[in-house]
Amino acid sequence: MVTDNLNNDIIIDVLKEIGNIGSGNAVTALASMLSKKINMSVPRVRIIDIKQVPTILGGEEELVVGIYLDLNNDIEGNIMFILDIESAFNLLEMLLNKKIKEFDEISVSALSEVGNIVASSYVNSLSTLTGLKITISIPSVAIDMAGAILSVAAIQFGLIADQVLFIETVFEEGIHSVKGNLFLLPDINSFKKMLSRLGVL
């Protein structure tokens, strides 16, 4: 049922709007943390076939950064934020004010904090719009092949659908551009609950 509805324009519009508000909040939080002006593009909501998921960031073997958090309480599921390697280095340069060429403990910790901010902002807007209580776990970071990391999202959607929905956000500070992909991965009952609260199911 849910899968058939994934193509429903209203549902997509609603999820897009949540993505907009969530990303807006995330960028605001990031900007105040950095005391810098950050511009954000309108997020793109994309629905693609599961088989194409490993290639959205280029090749399956590209090195990417994935930040993964559990969602609990009224909604069960996960949220994953993925950056290509160039975006990750750009982001670290914004955060740490120096050129970063490899991932040490501090940069992994900084990335995990960014994942935390982005996920919390997104989840807060979702929570406000649905009236559902949602909490998030501490983040877990993985730096590895895009295919391997993205498959985590694909697998979760794979149980209930042959397609995956995700939100692509681009933000910029000065010359630095960061492209992030956010996957909201509720379990099937939570997805229904969420859509029903939003009045679209």
Partner: protein, 160 residues
């Protein structure tokens, strides 16, 4: 030499010469089957353990159990003989670590177990494995000799 790519939730069979490859295996499992007498190779990139656990199971290659059945059938069509087929298994890692009981994160482990169960049920012997860990793998199965090359980022390269 021809290199045939197998995507996620996908499977293919070829007769030598040729190489089957699948890139960036994470929690998914790469099941490489080989009949060395007839030089027929098959590779599946399955995402989930058992088709019965999902409501969305039209795509047979998505699940370990149905993928193995279908792959064997495709290999037989290419000239393989079922009793000559042996298996090599790679993948099934856990990309993110959590202390929680989250089932999805343990999917790699469940995929490996499902693979062993299904292969045993079909009487297909596993001759080597490179499974588990917390990193991604790219694999290449050579239809000429059945060797399976496993490549990683930062965890070496090996042939199993």
């Amino acid at each position: 030499m021809e290199i045939v790519k197998v995507g996620m939730a996908d499977l293919k069979a070829i007769k030598a010469p040729g190489i089957l490859t699948t890139l960036g295996l994470g929690s998914c499992v790469g099941i490489a089957l080989y009949d060395k007498i007839n030089k027929v190779a098959g590779l599946a990139h399955a995402m989930l353990p058992f088709s019965s656990e999902s409501s969305k199971n039209e795509n047979k290659a998505k699940f370990v159990d149905t993928a193995i059945e279908l792959l064997v059938r495709k290999m037989v069509e290419k000239g393989a003989v079922e009793r000559y087929i042996v298996a090599k298994v790679a993948g099934g890692s856990q990309m993110f670590s959590f202390s929680t009981k989250n089932n999805v994160l343990k999917i790699g482990d469940r995929n490996i177990k499902a693979t062993r169960i299904k292969l045993k049920e079909m009487g297909i012997r596993i001759i080597s494995e490179d499974v588990g860990g917390n990193y991604g793998r790219t694999i290449q199965l050579d239809a000429q000799d059945g060797s399976l090359l496993v490549k990683t980022i930062g965890h070496g390269t090996k042939i199993i």
